[in-house]
């Protein structure tokens, strides 16, 4: 893409104008507002708020559960994407469409549905309770909800990458005597790794900020099952605006960093594909 298009196609000014106006009005100015508000605290104040044990515990849970959920989603997501791309089976189209369900289902609905399922009296909870495996209201429940909402991200970024896989490379490896596992580990996985990482990072980013589906199934205990977004809400409800904005601002910086990582990964993916 080069500058020369500017001279030929019209509409650059108005469209860029609308875009910049909207991005400013909807994203930049509101988010800047958050920073301005938390700036009142000063860096020291923000640091102090964010490093209290309760906030740290919430960050640990949010990031820990999101990381575990993203890792599990990497495995499940790969499995689902692989099966959907490589095999034919009855009901495949339905499964393929259903993958997007967590994305299309309103989070509050997922939240109460998961709680209804995994509460000790729920369909699944009833089976798990005798095993001494409580899911609802524990970090396990939080992780489960995050797996649910993160799955489509991994599957949907992996699918195109798996489709683009060059069959000849695999065939060549097979001809050279590589076993199926070797091909998978040495040929397939390295090729789709950037896509896999992108998907996992997206799932992770979504999981860290997730609120609706988690609050219902989490026990919301400070230090134990309290996630960061809930902590922001709790701070607000205690009229602690400074604390809420401080935590919000930190979350925002982290979101931005994660997005930047995704963009870099996608750049890597692009180069990788061109390299092939």
């Amino acid at each position: 893409m080069t500058r020369r298009h500017v001279g030929v196609l019209p509409g650059f000014g108005p469209t860029l104008g609308i875009t910049v106006f909207m991005v400013s009005a909807v994203v930049v100015i509101p988010l800047m507002g958050l920073f301005v508000r938390s700036a009142g605290l000063g860096f020291g104040g923000v640091w102090e708020t964010v490093t209290t044990p309760r906030v740290l515990a919430a960050f640990r849970l949010s990031f820990g559960a999101s990381l575990i959920a993203a890792a599990i989603n990497a495995v499940i997501g790969f499995l689902v994407a692989w099966t959907l791309v490589r095999y034919e089976f009855p009901g495949k189209r339905i499964v393929d469409a259903l993958v997007d369900l967590p994305f299309a289902l309103p989070t509050a609905v997922s939240g109460i549905a998961l709680t209804a399922l995994f509460a000790p009296q729920g369909w699944v909870g009833r089976l798990l309770a005798p095993l001494g495996l409580p899911v609802a209201f524990t970090p396990l429940g939080v992780t489960l909800a995050l797996i649910f909402i993160g799955l489509p991200f991994v599957v949907r970024t992996l699918q195109p990458a798996l489709m683009d896989l060059d069959a000849e490379v695999e065939e060549a490896a097979a001809v050279l005597g590589a076993g199926r596992w070797q091909i998978l580990g040495r040929v397939v996985l390295p090729t789709v790794l950037p896509a896999l990482l992108t998907g996992v990072t997206l799932a992770f980013a979504r999981a860290v900020g997730e609120y609706g589906s988690v609050v219902f199934i989490s026990g919301n205990m400070p230090h134990k099952t309290e996630i960061v977004p809930l902590l922001i809400v709790a701070k607000l409800e205690q009229y602690d605006y400074a604390g809420a904005t401080a935590i919000g601002a930190v979350m925002l910086v982290l979101s931005f960093a994660i997005l930047l990582a995704v963009n870099l990964l996608q750049g890597w993916t692009g180069r990788h594909r061109e390299g092939n």
Binding site: V8, F12, F153, M163, A167, F256, L259
Partner: protein
């Protein structure tokens, strides 16, 4: 993001000779079906099971409640504003970003993406900090007797924020991929900018646009976290459907709560079906563009 992942064309036929042994294959397929069943179908089924627990009569009665109807109306209104705004924005952004090059483009894209990664709670909080009574514009709004937070405008704004990237991010990669040759050809043949956009660009991206609109709409109607922070939870006035679910749930009215939830779940299912249809049509269209369109389009375009 499912949307940002882009390009979900219909899967090609599996390549022959390059597959796992049958037992492994069957095992993997079974595992996928189990995942789909446990992780995806079960929560959905439980929504409908709970909703119908009191029988069909009680289920249908839930929708005659004026408050439930008000929630449905409000949700439709919010989507009816947020989606067109995002379509307008998405088209502008995609045109500016995909068809031209300018400094700061990557930054702009990252900023458009930002609402994907921002926690819904933070987005709600942000609007309170700006438009709330103690917010930056709070005194000005109060002086002019305008209410944003805890009223419909706040809900609309929060919804626009969370759905902001959907349309733009569907269109940008596609329009970048398509380049500017077709548009330039149309322009040299004397079409105006608007004509070029309507006759050339729009048909080329219509499936991606529709896809973005479907996702945007699903999220606009289903958003809970952000809207929950900026809505006053006033029954019958500022409660959207997801908030109404929570209100009913908290009033021990589980049948009604799950009934409204089931409506949202049905919306999700409709979204999935619409999406699958769009994907198939888009796949077919993509195949066509490369063959026929290149030959026929220029002739059609000469007419005006």
């Amino acid at each position: 993001m499912a949307g940002a992942g882009g390009g979900h064309r219909a899967a090609p036929r599996p390549r022959s000779g390059m597959s796992e042994p049958a037992p492994v294959r069957r095992l993997l397929i079974a595992a996928t079906l189990v995942v789909a069943g446990c992780v995806l179908v079960l929560p959905l089924a439980s929504v409908f099971a709970e909703a119908l627990r009191g029988g069909l009569g009680a289920y249908l009665a839930s929708f005659r409640d004026p408050e439930a109807l008000a929630a449905i109306r409000l949700t439709l209104l919010v989507a009816a504003i947020a989606v067109p705004v995002n379509v307008l924005f998405g088209l502008s952004a995609a045109w500016a970003i995909a068809k031209f090059s300018f400094p700061g483009k990557r930054l702009l894209i990252t900023l458009i993406d930002l609402p994907y990664a921002v926690s819904p709670v933070v987005s709600g909080l942000v609007y309170i900090m700006i438009y709330g009574a103690n917010g930056v514009f709070g005194p000005w709004l109060a002086a002019h007797d305008l209410q944003v937070i805890f009223a419909v405008p706040g809900i609309v704004l929060a919804t626009i924020f969370v759905t902001f990237p959907f349309v733009a991010r569907e269109l940008i990669p596609l329009m970048e991929e398509q380049g500017t040759e077709q548009e330039q050809a149309a322009m040299t043949l004397g079409a105006s900018g608007w004509q070029t956009f309507r006759r050339v660009t729009l048909p080329n991206v219509r499936w991606a646009l529709l896809y973005g609109v479907i996702l945007c709409n699903a999220r606009a109607m289903g958003e809970f976290g952000a809207v929950s922070v900026v809505s006053g939870h006033i029954r019958g006035k500022t409660a959207t459907m997801p908030l109404q679910v929570e209100i009913l749930y908290n009033e021990y009215n589980h049948v009604a709560a799950f009934a409204v939830a089931s409506l949202l779940a049905m919306l999700a299912l409709v979204t999935l079906v619409a999406k699958a249809v769009v994907e198939r049509r888009a796949g077919a269209a993509a195949a066509q563009i490369t063959t026929t369109e290149v030959e026929t389009e220029p002739q059609r375009r000469e007419a005006p």
